[in-house]
Amino acid sequence: MAWSDQIIQGLKDADISLVAYVPDGITWRILGKMEDDPFFHMIPCSREEEAIGIISGAYTAGKRGTVFMQSSGFGNCINALATLNIPSRIPFPMFIGMRGGPGEFNMAQIPGARAVPGILDSLGLQYFSLTREDELDQIIKGGIALCYAGRLPVANLLSTLLTGGRDA
C-alpha cells in the first residue's frame, strides 16, 4: 500500500473523519485522495491555528479529527497547542509535511522546518518521523492510540525520505 493510503487507512481505522488543513504540495498527495473520499469531512482553513481550534472543538463534542499542515505553518500553531490543547488535555493527531530536509530548494523553508522537533520537545509533545513505508502502519496506529490515551496532541512528521519532498 502506498504511504498516502496507509495514512488514510490508519485514520479510518481510528474513526477520525474530520480533516482540517492548510494545503501544501506534500500533504496534498494524501488530502487530495481524502477530498474524493466520502468518509472524510474536509475543512480547508485560512491558517493552521484555526484548524487546531476546529478539531479541538469537535473533540469537545465527541468527534475525532486530525490536522494537516506544512512545517512552515507549524509555527502558527504554538499558541493554540500551549494555551488550549495542553492545559485542557485536548488530543488530536497532526501530520506535518516536512520541508527543509534532503532535496530542499527554498532557503526560506529550512529554519522553520529544522525548529519543529525542538518546539515539540519544548512543549512536551511526542512526535514521530515517518521515513519508511514499512514502519508506517505501526507508527500511525500506535501514535493515534498514544494520542487519545495520553489526551495530548501527537505529531507525525512526514520526512522527505518518505514523501520525496515537493517539486520545485
Partner: protein, 186 residues
C-alpha cells in the same frame, strides 16, 4: 447595552444549547451567571479561536444549535475564521461578537472597531449568510430569537459598553472540558 445583561439575556433564551465563551471577561461573566450549566465551554487562552472551536462543535453536533460568544479583539485576530465558517456553512451555528471596541482584559486599549473597522461588514464580505448588527438589548433579543429557530450560520455583532470588570472564577480546565463533553454523550 452591558455585556453582562446581554449574556444573561442569551442565557434566559437557551435550554441545553452548547455555549463556547471567548477568553477573559466573556468567560468570567458566563461562568459567574451560570456556574452550574454543563453546556458552557470556557476558554482561558487560545485568543482568537473561540469561533473556530465553535465551528468544530457545530460540525460535530449538527443537530444542536451552537452558540459562540466571541469578542472584537479576538475575532480581529482570526478573521479568516469567518471565511471558513461561511465555506462550511453550518446551519446550526450562532456566532455572537460582544463588540466593546477595546481589549478589555489588558487595560481597555481601543481595538480597530473603535475606529473604522466594521465586523458585521467583514462577516458579510466573508460570505456569512445571516449577519446582524445590534446595539440595544431589545434588538439583540429579537435577532437571537430568530437565530434560534432559523437556519444560519449567523453572525450577530452586538455593540456593548466597555469597562466592566467581572470577577475571575476558579475553574479547572480539564473538569470543564469533561463536563461539557458529557452533554454530547449519546
Amino acid at each position: 447595552m452591558l455585556r453582562v445583561d446581554a449574556i444573561q439575556s442569551v442565557l434566559d433564551r437557551v435550554k441545553d444549547e452548547p455555549i463556547i465563551a471567548n477568553l477573559g471577561g466573556t468567560t468570567f461573566h458566563l461562568h459567574n451567571l451560570s456556574e452550574q450549566r454543563d453546556a458552557n465551554l470556557y476558554t482561558w487562552g487560545a485568543m482568537g479561536l473561540s469561533s473556530s472551536i465553535g465551528l468544530g462543535v457545530a460540525l460535530a453536533a449538527p443537530d444542536r444549535k451552537i452558540i459562540v460568544m466571541d469578542g472584537d479583539g479576538s475575532l480581529l485576530m482570526n478573521l479568516g475564521s469567518l471565511g471558513t465558517i461561511a465555506r462550511q456553512d453550518p446551519k446550526n451555528m450562532i456566532h455572537i461578537v460582544w463588540d466593546n471596541h477595546q481589549w478589555g482584559g489588558t487595560g481597555g486599549q481601543p481595538t480597530h472597531t473603535a475606529g473604522v473597522t466594521d465586523l458585521a461588514a467583514v462577516a458579510r464580505g466573508a460570505g456569512i449568510p445571516k449577519v446582524e448588527a445590534v446595539s440595544t438589548l431589545e434588538a439583540l433579543e429579537e435577532v437571537f430569537d430568530r437565530a434560534l429557530t432559523e437556519d444560519g450560520p449567523w453572525c450577530i455583532v452586538a455593540d456593548v459598553e466597555g469597562g466592566d470588570k467581572p470577577n475571575r472564577p476558579d475553574v479547572s480546565l480539564e473538569e470543564n472540558l469533561q463536563r461539557f463533553r458529557k452533554t454530547f454523550a449519546p
